[in-house]
């Protein structure tokens, strides 16, 4: 039994997708419908080389965006191949990924975490909730958009955005251009 799986795994193609720098129809089909999936905001002039630590911050999500983020470290997307990793400490973080609606209780904590991060830093608003409040825009105690609190580098639309969208957005935030353009050029 063991050897059979071992042999089968040798013959098998890798699970990991080449997206966004290579074409992968399965992943591309799951991207946000239209081209407005990713909206770059004020891009900083200085770009950083890649060995990026990500601090995720949940400020009122439904946990769907977190579920997709966890899959990034799985074998299908394996975002470590681009040098990304999750970090528990804001002090180590280069990118802050905020998920969920911005509640009044979390707003000061978001500001605090942002202050704690060292420069240069990026902020990514992930999912409809963080971008505009989504369905909960008018809920009591919900502030609305993340950009009203801290400067946002880039927003990734979707509810939840697919892991493909997230990888594309993260690379965009780091490199300053759409990684899918590389795919078209080659």
């Amino acid at each position: 039994m063991y050897y059979w799986h071992w042999l089968r795994n040798i013959g098998r193609r890798s699970y990991t997708t080449g997206f966004p720098t290579q074409k992968d129809l399965t992943v591309e089909k799951m991207l946000h419908d239209d081209d407005s999936g990713i909206q770059p905001g004020a891009m900083p002039a200085r770009y950083i080389r890649r060995a990026m630590a990500i601090r995720q911050l949940d400020s009122g999500s439904c946990q769907g965006c977190e579920s997709e983020l966890t899959l990034l470290s799985g074998p299908d997307y394996d975002f470590t191949r681009y040098g990304f990793s999750f970090t528990p400490s804001p002090k180590h973080a280069d990118i802050l990924v905020v998920t969920g609606v911005i509640t009044e209780a979390m707003a000061p904590i978001i500001r605090e975490v942002y202050e704690q991060m060292t420069d240069p830093k990026r902020v990514v608003a992930l999912g409809a909730c963080a971008i505009s409040g989504g369905l909960f825009k008018t809920a009591p105690g919900v502030i609305g958009s993340l950009s009203g609190i801290i400067p946002v580098t880039l927003s990734i639309e979707g509810c939840p955005p697919s892991p493909g969208d997230i990888i594309r957005g993260l690379l965009w935030a780091v490199d300053g251009h759409d990684p899918c353009l590389v795919q078209e050029a080659t």
């Binding site: 999500s61 439904c62 946990q63 769907g64 999750f86 509640t103």
Partner: protein
């Protein structure tokens, strides 16, 4: 003095000035019933009780001032159970929370407070842990939630019933379908809408797909908490495979935007896929799951960390009555698919696992077996599934026939994390939601975490125990 009234028929059960009489009534209620929901509506307090033996749901209404009335927690419903908190938030005048409530703390030499959160771990929801440790041993844990309240119950008020689905599906991401389903069942129950067998079958397939990917995610989290990335990666890969399957079949990875009241909003993608091929894929996943689980069951470093870690004390089990996999791993028969069959579950020969260890291993084992069962059910269901029939189905159209001011309905499902109940009051004329209540499994089960954590565990067990529960904060805060 308060009164206890059976609603709908307005049958008065008890109306007395004698508080002792009250006590007797509540004792009777809580001993052979599971209290699933207790919440305020206007100036009334409503308790929904479910009998574990018969599965019959009863609705009781309390009116008036509660001073002098014993709090439900005195009779087996945890002192800080969500219900009482909800009541405190919604109708403070009708609550038991006294002002002189003092925070209990452990004091002594060598006791340290270890605050953790709300920003914590790698990818995690916002929740504050306050651990009190003595050396390495955890002697007390306090949970502070409420950082991410979205007020979903209030948001639903006044919305059209069809818009409520989207809201319900955003309570908890990895139980999105179960929430939508419970909501739809409640509305269909209120408006007396029947759905046909084919819709039920499709809903069942979706519910089991959701249970599978949710359990796969839990098992992945548990594997990595014990430092085993290989099974974690394999579980995550299968989770992704099922999410892709969801997308191919229903057009959404988390099965949102498909449900409709009285039917299904059938996506075009459903017909482009070969159903037989989906069946084959599920068999492949099932085979692989067997192999991974055999591997884990033979890894002593994994088993050693799980056995005896995070055992829920007996008193807590009786007090909180946990539901879902946690309940089944502590010896409680609590699978709603059996107790109170809905959709077409009676046709499946489902035998939910039952363990009595109440520790991390028991929870792992129950989830692992349930995952196999779910995939097994899927394999059988998909064989007899004909999505072509769904094409002609419409959802709720126009007005309902009920000519009344208000219609009340209840929907009960077994979500991946356990018993989930929705109760809606709708206006049948305008088809809007008057009031929405929900009891999520996480809101109830979180209360077993502190006693289980402070039960002879050390700090190194903390991530393992946390992963073995894996409840959602979103479902708790609501």
């Amino acid at each position: 003095m308060a009164t206890l009234v059976r609603t709908q028929r307005s049958y008065i059960v008890e109306q007395t000035d004698n508080p002792n009489h009250w006590q007797e009534q509540l004792v009777v209620l809580s001993q052979d019933h599971d209290v699933v929901l207790l919440t305020g509506h206007r100036d009334q307090l409503i308790a929904l009780l479910l009998s574990p033996q018969t599965g019959i749901l009863r609705e009781w209404q309390l009116t008036g001032n509660l001073s002098g009335v014993p709090r439900p927690s005195d009779f087996g419903v945890g002192s800080s159970l969500a219900a009482e908190r909800i009541l405190n938030d919604t109708v403070p005048s009708l609550s038991w929370n006294s002002e002189e409530h003092v925070e209990r703390r452990v004091h002594g030499k060598g006791v340290f407070l270890y605050p953790l959160g709300p920003v914590r771990a790698d990818v995690a929801e916002s929740l504050m842990y306050r651990l009190q440790v003595m050396g390495d041993e955890i002697i007390r844990l306090e949970l502070l939630n409420g950082f991410k309240k979205r007020h979903i119950r209030e948001m639903a008020q006044g919305k059209a019933v069809t818009d409520g689905i989207a809201l319900a599906q955003r309570v908890t991401g990895t139980s999105a379908f179960a929430h939508g389903l419970a909501y739809c069942l409640a509305v269909e129950n209120a408006l007396k809408i029947d759905v046909n067998a084919e819709v039920m079958l499709t809903r069942m397939i979706m519910a089991e797909l959701e249970r599978s990917y949710s359990h796969l995610g839990d098992l992945a989290a548990l594997s990595v908490s014990t430092g085993l990335p290989v099974p974690q990666m394999e579980y995550l890969h299968h989770k992704e495979s099922i999410l892709r399957l969801n997308f191919r079949l229903f057009g959404h990875r988390y099965l949102r935007d498909v449900l409709a009241i009285g039917g299904m909003r059938v996506p075009n993608s459903l017909f482009q896929d070969n159903v037989a091929m989906v069946g084959r894929e599920i068999v492949e996943i099932l085979d692989d799951i067997h192999r991974i689980q055999d591997g884990l069951e033979n890894t002593t470093s994994f088993l050693d960390r799980l056995h005896g870690a995070g055992t829920i004390p007996k008193a807590t089990i009786e007090f909180v009555r946990p539901v879902g996999p946690t309940g089944r791993s502590s010896g409680r028969v609590c699978d709603m698919r059996i107790i109170r069959p809905y959709l077409r579950y009676p046709e499946t020969d489902l035998a939910p696992p039952l363990e009595s260890g109440a520790d991390s291993y028991a929870r792992f084992s129950v989830k692992a077996i349930e995952l196999k069962h779910s995939l097994g059910i899927l394999r059988r269901l998909i064989g007899g599934w004909n999505p072509g029939v769904l094409r002609s189905l419409a959802g709720l159209e126009g007005k309902s026939e009920i000519d009344d001011d208000v219609a009340v309905g209840v929907g009960i499902v077994e979500a991946p994390r356990g018993l989930l109940v929705y109760r809606v009051m709708v206006n049948p004329r305008s088809l809007t939601i008057d009031h929405l209540d929900m009891a999520t499994p996480s809101a109830r089960n979180w209360y077993v975490v502190p006693p289980a954590m402070a039960n002879k565990n050390i700090m190194q067990d903390f991530p393992i125990i946390e992963a073995s529960f894996n409840y959602t904060v979103a479902g708790w805060d609501g």
